[in-house]
Symmetry: C2
Subunit: 146 residues, 2 copies
DNA sequence: GATACTGGTTACCTCAAAGATACCGGGATA
DNA sequence: TATCCCGGTATCTTTGAGGTAACCAGTATC
């Protein structure tokens, strides 16, 4: 809660960018995770969301507020202080995020491996034959653009 | 399996388009659902995916093939016949899709209601006061553009 | 007076996904 | 001969999310 967010909580090298699941907009799921342990300030959110520009963070938070996923509370102090907090509805997204993370842990390696295999293979090729495709019977016939 | 796909299996009016969850690209989840009950042909897939252009369907299927989610089997007949089928990996996405559907069933109405409320409210307004926001104490101070 | 801090705003640009439209090859059928 | 079917391909245009860079108000501090 009072603990600062880990600036490296989102590994930029992590293949989560290849994850075929998206919750809301690009940054929404990460914002939800950042807010899981309690309310956070605008500037505080920018730390782990490295690279996000204030404009995009504002857009993301405004959209989430509109959808009832977060609340925004401004305190009339100076320097100004604004806190964002997950609503109950926003908190329900955590189960979905967990499901996506579990899937990635279990199956993303296979997906990346398939992608790798596909790229290093000369040509997967289209099949012909009255026979269905079978490993070994695949024939390269109609090579698209070489 | 042999049964034709229901052309209306994806209700265009359904608010699933507002669903804050996306699996793969725009059409990927729908393709997975179409293939759940067995292999399908290109033209067969176009029916429930009303509005998809052949170019986009080809792109979607090629990407899924590359990622090991579907297999493509061409039969040398005429007219040509090509069948797409879910792989085991592709089938694992179904649990994720079910989770997303369950979330939508349980929480999407609340999200849409919040959105509606937000749009019909004159201005949600930013808060001031040393006091945190509280229903009733919210004050409209710094109205953005109007 | 100059500078810094917070939480933004504004104008502009970029780039990839998606869509619109048209066309194709080759055998089968009328 | 003409047409249809199937599974695409080729181009062009649109759309919109996201990014870049600069600026701002109000207070406090140097």
């Amino acid at each position: 809660m009072a603990e600062p967010l880990d600036p490296e909580m989102f590994d930029p090298v992590c293949p989560s960018s290849a994850m075929p699941i998206q919750i809301g907009d690009k940054w929404t799921a990460m914002v939800v995770i950042c807010l899981e342990s309690g309310p956070r300030r605008f500037t505080e959110l920018r730390v782990p969301l490295r690279g996000i520009t204030p404009k995009v963070l504002t857009q993301t938070l405004r959209a989430m507020e509109r959808d009832g996923l977060v609340t925004r509370t401004a305190y009339d102090e100076n320097p100004p202080r604004v806190e964002y907090e997950l609503t109950d509805l926003g908190r329900t997204l955590l189960t979905l995020i967990d499901a996506a993370r579990a899937w990635s842990r279990d199956h993303l390696p296979a997906l990346l491996e398939a992608r790798e295999r596909h790229e290093t293979t000369p040509r997967p090729a289209l099949l012909r034959a009255g026979e269905p495709s079978r490993p070994g019977t695949a024939a390269s016939t109609h090579l698209h653009r070489q």
